[in-house]
Subunit: 523 residues, 2 copies
């Protein structure tokens, strides 16, 4: 059995193939392209194609014929329930039913990519006769204001070069060290350890996180204060539930600020009044004026601008949080990428200064890999018990084995070694991106590149240029995935792009930025 | 770094030790008992004690002195926030400050156990001078009607023999096969697989679950219909959120029926009107009379009674579900232990009969281990999109590596091989329990032993005997952990006990049942 890559690309390709077989564009007997060939044509990894072929093989629609390749052997079985099937014949040119199968599959895929690109940067593909009936598994990401599934849509869209922000160098995941630690965990764990666990998390990981935060973030915390969660996304959701029950109905957020975070808070019933960020970080005067009793901040490296919260602002913020006595303001500190910094001293966490007013959220998503879904929450004592209850009723606690593996990697120093290596690699990639921007996008301004895993570009073209969603759509149509800055603002904002560099090689970065430069040059 | 067992026992012991050091019962210089000795005295695994010692070692309160053993080297650092500390001196007998340290620690622990046992079955320990100030990390489990944290409290309570229901033979967890599969997954996974994934779950696992359900439960489902969740607990929570938003405010439950399930549904805002279960399963006439539009059932092996839903009842239920057309009833099928059966043919899942009216929930908690936190939900098409959204905003999807490992174990046939072996072992253990009950508890009636991982006892003593919570408390005081049947009923019900046999050896089972017999004999 093959391992599918995450992210729905195999899913998406399998769906395309199913439909092409269902409506006769790939008749029984057709030989499909070799996985290697199709992967290269689509700009996806070979595993994506292999997995899609295997899925249809499992359905009985495809079969391997040795040197004869992979062949369509049956049309799909009709599904029982609620699945859309393309209207028979509609929009399909019967004259093309016999075209070379590779061409048909590639056209199908490319047409799907082209749909994301309707507004301005249209290419020849958008006129392909296959375009209409082949909906992507999620809506096209840039066609409308971002919806709840927009990040899934963007992830599912195929691209040669993915410059989405928010991921570290995933190729550096310490596979061997992970496996060694897992072997040790499996050797040591008593049988009862495989039963239901403590909803607060495994004691070993809570202790390892407390040590990690002491060493790396200047936070002194007892392991009992640490709640292990399934990533910051879950942590913020649990906190939103607890705050709602405590009568807090809104939480101020930075403007601009993370779209994803805002979507989660909104889903859980909190309003998110925007408070502007300037070169010193969040404007505390505006926060006061908003009347909000809670605020979510990214003080170490503001997302997306990369600004560091200045000393004066920190002091103002402390006063805001403590002014009301026990009813003072609550600060939610999303410390999402603070371990990654290049040209500056570390910024201490707000949590280290004011533990009773700060709820601290961290995770391994930017340290190791988002796919691990492990994070931690350190809440003021007043909210701790309610958070444990929310976690219990969310899922009874995180899975145990990955917690114990991670605890070993943290306590043995392995994770810090990895982080030091990653920092060097990330810095080179950041430098490559800045250099490419200097030469290919000379009109753009770079923000927030001293730390983190992404930088932000803005374009000051007096409102005459394209919108940043159109730019992002045009880039995706040319195989380069980026996020428009406007996604991360609630009010009109300067057009810009948010570019992740940590997960791509210098060569890919140069190529991706060159594509952006060509698009900008065409205007 | 040692691996802590799950379940808060180390946590609890560490807290006891911290308090004993803080209030001077274990002064600096005291030598603690060897881990082996203390573990035996407390009836916990040695890892629990080792982990507790290591935690205090990390705090700087204990230190290893080679052959000199483990010694108290410092009193604890006061904590910043909201931690209760025992009132200085209160309830502590200063004359005992110098007692042998092992005795003090054991007394502390035993006193804590004895607190669970206040009503009737009091032992000498409950009068120990240390009892009052040492609260368990959670409330004593049987002292009051069960609270939200009652299962955590029961899990945290030390016991020699744990006959709690709901876990398979955890000692049989396939550690080597898991590690082999993980090695293969780590070797194959493309780098992007470590990024954010599909909130619906990894395609490979969704496909493996579809195949598994086809082979083992007679369910024909497309992988696209499978939503991977963090165990049935999360699945039911997501469903409750979706039903609430769809205007459904109550879901009928079986009476008696799982307390844990009811707690989850209630937490998420659904009322749980009880519908009686008789020897044929849920009373569909009573369900109709309740007016509820949704019902949660355990048709294959009713929890806790073990009744199988009869053929006539199935047909009645189908009519109830389809009578209202598109507004017909929704059945939530909690298929929690259906793969385990001994003396009867498999019972097909309701989902296989009526896919558009049944939301099916399954998990690996009873197949492999609850600590994995992996389950699946197959919902009618009308609710599927909302469930994906609920899962996205719960945690962005399950962690990827364990999903892919599990997919391999399922697709390779390894999991089915394990299940066949487990079935033989579980049957022997069930037989041992029935034999012990026959000889030691001749007045008890056994229910539901033809399948599953637990059986239920009832006592017909005309209301003259002790309550089942008192029985469970007395058993816990003697080191045997069981659940009272009354926990699992919303209305007054026959007294009884729910006993898990799958995770314990025949010898432990015989010993545990013997203790129950002695308690019953004493009246």
């Amino acid at each position: 059995m093959g391992q599918a890559p995450v992210g729905g690309r195999s899913d998406w390709l399998a769906a395309q193939l199913r439909r092409a077989i269902a409506d006769g564009r790939l008749p029984v007997g057709t030989r499909l392209p070799a996985t290697r060939v199709l992967a290269a044509e689509l700009g996806v990894s070979r595993g994506v194609v292999t997995e899609a072929y295997q899925r249809l093989g499992a359905d009985g629609q495809l079969a391997g014929r040795g040197r004869g390749g992979t062949v369509v052997v049956a049309a799909p079985v009709p599904l029982m329930s609620g699945r859309r099937t393309p209207a028979a014949g509609a929009d399909v040119d019967p004259a093309r039913a016999d075209v070379d199968s590779a061409r048909a599959v590639v056209d199908t895929a490319r047409a799907d990519m082209a749909r994301t690109d309707m507004a301005r940067a249209g290419t020849a593909h958008s006129a392909a006769p296959f375009a209409a009936p082949f909906a992507a598994p999620f809506a096209a990401p840039f066609a409308a204001p971002p919806d709840a599934d927009v990040f899934d849509a963007l992830r599912a869209a195929p691209a040669r070069i993915d410059l989405s922000p928010g991921v570290p160098d995933l190729a550096a995941f310490p596979r061997a060290a992970w496996l060694r630690a897992e072997r040790a965990v499996l050797a040591d764990l008593p049988a009862d350890g495989f039963g239901y666990g403590d909803p607060r998390g495994a004691p070993a990981l809570r202790q390892a996180v407390a040590h990690w935060l002491a060493r790396n973030r200047g936070i002194g915390a007892d392991p009992d204060e640490v709640l292990i969660v399934a990533g910051t996304a879950q942590g913020l959701g649990l906190l939103a539930q607890v705050l709602s029950r405590a009568g807090i109905r809104e939480i101020a957020v930075e403007e601009p600020g993370s779209l994803g975070v805002r979507q989660h808070l909104t889903h859980w019933g909190l309003a998110t009044p925007p408070v502007p960020v300037d070169d010193e970080g969040v404007r505390v005067d505006a926060l006061r004026a908003s009347g909000a009793r809670a605020v979510l901040l990214t003080p170490a490296h503001q997302f997306p601008t990369g600004v560091v919260l200045g000393g004066g602002r920190r002091r103002e913020l402390m006063r805001w949080a403590t002014d009301g006595g026990v009813d003072g303001g609550l600060i939610v500190e999303d410390d999402y990428d603070a371990e990654h910094r290049y040209d500056r001293a570390p910024v201490p966490a707000l949590r280290s200064l004011l533990p009773e007013r700060v709820c601290y959220a961290g995770s391994v998503s930017k340290l190791l890999a988002p796919a691990l879904r492990v994070g931690w929450l350190l809440a003021p004592a007043a909210h701790r018990e309610a958070l444990v209850e929310a976690k219990r009723f969310a899922d009874l606690g995180n899975a145990v084995l990955p917690q114990l593996v991670l605890a070993r990697l943290m306590e043995s120093g392995e994770l810090e070694r990895r982080l030091r290596l990653a920092r060097q690699r990330h810095r080179r990639r950041r430098d490559a991106m800045i250099e490419a921007i200097r030469t290919r996008l000379p009109g753009a301004t770079v923000h927030g590149a001293a730390a983190g895993l992404h930088l932000t570009l803005t374009f000051d073209h007096d409102g005459a240029g394209p919108s940043d969603t159109d730019l992002a759509a045009a880039a995706l149509a040319r195989g380069v995935k980026v996020q428009p800055l406007s996604w991360h603002a609630q009010r009109p904002y300067r057009p810009g792009l948010v570019l992740g560099y940590a997960a791509r090689s210098p060569g890919e970065i140069a190529e991706g930025v060159a594509v952006l430069g060509e698009i900008m040059a065409r205007g």
